[in-house]
């Protein structure tokens, strides 16, 4: 078994594709991709923040104070557009002629003086993820509404202090008992297994194809079957090799994520990131790695069984594609709000590990759940492995 394991490992580590999936992807590609995404995101947010909004104010003469406030505001710039017939407000916004149209009620002055509610309309394109236009105009409108409220209260003979009480009768002080680590774990804890578990699958996928269907295609499996080694040892050697590469991918990813988080924390002076990562503790990182072991074993045995059934590389790839879906669904469970680790979830393979990683990062895990987690994933991995051995003994599978 060890002879096969060592041979397979040497061969895989000499393969550029394997090295790419195991080392380059988690160490370099992911941080670079995430970095580029963050850069583009922050640039877009900055552009949105600095953007001067082109506006049209309809019936502005009914609220001259508001019109003046808007006109002299740095974030807004008035444009002149006549809306009539085909050139509606909606089409002008769609054609990027204007960003914002505020339509005031023609009878606003009269309605305000007679204590009646007035209808104003704001038109904008709300598809922008940052929602800068809406936010900016709402801030400005709120200021104006405050002024109108003050005027109304003064007219009704109420003091400024009474106005403040009317506006905010209760002052709520929020005391969040969750520490930074728990908040971080809740927000990002579900995201980490979403990266780690599919990476284990990716790390196992290519070696599994190479060691099963690849060997069949190259004709080496037949040579191997003619040696006195038992089929069980042969399967175990290959299985251990695939599990090792899957684990290596996960380990390198964890190392890469911690390393890059520390670097980002230091470079951008975001000490909270480093503090949270330190708070997780090495024993919890160790447990995360340990939890990924049975997951990798499940992937290794399942993928090897699929691979040995396939008669070519291409066929194996076709069979393995849908498997990603089966992995993603249980991982998504950990990202859903309101779902936490309990006994029932601890028995569901993949979902249990995803939830446990989330709880570990939050620092709220009940360690007794680790027993059913390891038991259920272990049993599942063993069943897959036995199935793999069964297929390795079937002529109709080996010589398809």
């Amino acid at each position: 078994m060890w002879l096969v394991f060592i041979k397979e490992l040497i061969e895989l580590l000499r393969d550029k594709k394997t090295l790419f999936f195991i080392i380059a992807l988690p160490m370099v590609i992911f941080p670079v991709v995430f970095g580029i995404m963050a850069l583009f995101g922050s640039n877009a947010a900055l552009q949105e923040h600095d953007k001067v909004i082109r506006y049209v104010l309809k019936n502005g003469d009914v609220a001259p104070e508001f019109a003046t406030k808007l006109f002299y505001h740095n974030d807004f710039k008035e444009v002149i557009i006549e809306f009539s017939g085909d050139n509606s407000i909606e089409s002008a916004i769609k054609n990027d002629e204007v960003d914002l149209v505020i339509e005031l009620d023609e009878d606003f002055k009269n309605q305000f003086e007679n204590d009646k509610i007035s209808d104003w309309k704001i038109y904008f394109n709300g598809s922008n993820i940052f929602g800068g236009t809406k936010r900016k105009v709402e801030t400005l409108l709120q200021e104006y509404v405050d002024e109108l409220q003050q005027q109304t209260f003064a007219r009704l003979g109420l003091a400024a202090e009474q106005f403040e009480v009317f506006k905010e009768p209760i002052k709520i002080e929020e005391i969040d008992t969750a520490d930074d680590r728990e908040s971080f774990g809740e927000q990002l804890g579900g995201f980490i297994p979403y990266i780690l578990i599919p990476l284990c699958l990716t790390g196992a996928m290519y070696p599994a194809i190479d060691l099963g269907a690849g060997e069949k295609e190259r004709g080496t499996i037949e040579t191997l079957l003619l040696t006195p080694i038992s089929r069980l040892s042969l399967v175990l050697g290959k299985f251990l090799c695939i599990t090792t590469t899957a684990m290596m991918t996960a380990l390198i990813t964890i190392f890469s994520m911690v390393l890059w988080s520390f670097i980002i924390g230091q470079l951008f002076d975001v000490s909270a990131v480093s503090e949270i990562l330190k708070a997780v503790g090495w024993s919890d990182y160790g447990l995360i790695v340990l939890l990924l072991l049975p997951i990798s074993a499940i992937f290794a045995s399942t993928l090897l069984a699929i691979s040995i059934y396939a008669s070519s590389y291409k066929e194996a790839q076709n069979y393995m594609g849908p498997l990603s879906m089966f992995v993603i669904f249980p991982v998504l469970v950990a990202m859903m709000p309101g779902i936490s680790l309990n006994f029932n979830w601890s028995l569901v393979p993949i979902a249990n590990v995803a939830l446990a990683i989330k709880e570990l990062l939050k620092g709220t895990i009940d360690y007794t759940f680790l027993i059913p987690i390891f038991a259920s994933t272990g049993v599942f991995a063993l069943i897959s492995l036995l199935f793999c051995v069964y297929w390795f003994n079937k002529e109709s599978v080996l010589f398809r």
Partner: protein, 267 residues
């Protein structure tokens, strides 16, 4: 030395394959079964070379896979020096060296790593590999590129490494399945010489080929399989005498023509 007796082997036919083959129906197709081998027998003694002949799809590879333990027969026996290959496959594997049509080498390992990996799986000692394996390497003229990765070697070089891999555990029976296919004259010559050498050391060699000149040069015995049945098994002289032809090519064709009627009566 090696005795193959009445081997029969059938495979299930998949529905789709069955449909495709319906226009050119093979007499070996029986319902949902395909009778790949039907009572095939042949023999090869110590230090003898048996040329295993037959057209493509005759069942040669199935027979060789059975005698090398990769497949199990439905009935029949393969005996190597008193050991039943079907009942004791692990023991039998120690006594067989097999070279298939493909070289069966790992491209990302060096030639030496390939040979030593298979040697260790066969339980060959480290001392033997260090002290005695050189003789095999020199005979096959592969010493100069033993430490180069197999993927960087030519087809001829790979085939020679593959032969070294097949004989490194000193098998009593060497099975060569079309070993010279795709090789140049020089590489073919080296393999022919090596077969002669290993025969002289007492190894029984079963040599499947389509090249009758190689059979004429090497074989002591000939066995012909046609549509899953044995048409002939005997010495070269007997083969020529039975087919009334000295030329092996014509003798082979004569045997196949005679076999057609026999096969039709079988199914």
């Amino acid at each position: 030395m090696i005795s193959v007796e009445n081997l029969s082997k059938s495979f299930p036919i998949k529905a789709a394959k069955k449909q495709m083959q319906s226009q050119q129906r093979d007499p070996r197709e029986q319902g949902a079964k395909f009778n790949a081998l039907n009572n095939v027998s042949f023999h090869c003694g110590k230090g003898e070379v048996l040329g295993l002949l037959g057209p493509n799809g005759a069942g040669k590879t199935t027979a060789l896979r059975i005698l090398s333990t990769a497949l199990k027969p439905d009935s029949g026996a393969v005996i190597i020096n008193g050991i039943d290959v079907i009942k004791n496959p692990t023991l039998a594997k120690q006594k067989i060296g097999f070279l298939s049509g493909k070289t069966g080498l790992y491209g990302r390992l060096t030639a030496r790593e390939n040979i030593e990996f298979f040697a260790k799986l066969h339980g060959v000692s480290r001392e033997y590999l260090l002290n005695d394996a050189d003789e095999i390497y020199q005979n096959l003229e592969i010493t100069n590129y033993l430490d180069r990765r197999v993927e960087h070697l030519s087809t001829g070089m790979q085939q020679k490494v593959s032969i070294a891999r097949a004989v490194i555990h000193k098998p009593e029976v060497l099975v060569l399945d079309e070993p010279t296919t795709g090789l140049d004259i020089m590489a073919t010559e080296i393999i022919m010489d090596f077969v002669q050498l290993i025969r002289s050391q007492g190894t029984a060699v079963i040599f499947s080929t389509h090249h009758l000149d190689e059979v004429a040069l090497l074989a002591d015995r000939v066995s012909i399989i046609y549509q899953g049945t044995s048409c002939f098994d005997g010495g070269i002289a007997e083969f020529q005498q039975q087919s009334r032809e000295l030329d092996l090519r014509r003798a082979f064709m004569n045997v196949l023509q005679g076999a057609d009627a026999n096969v039709a009566s079988l199914y």
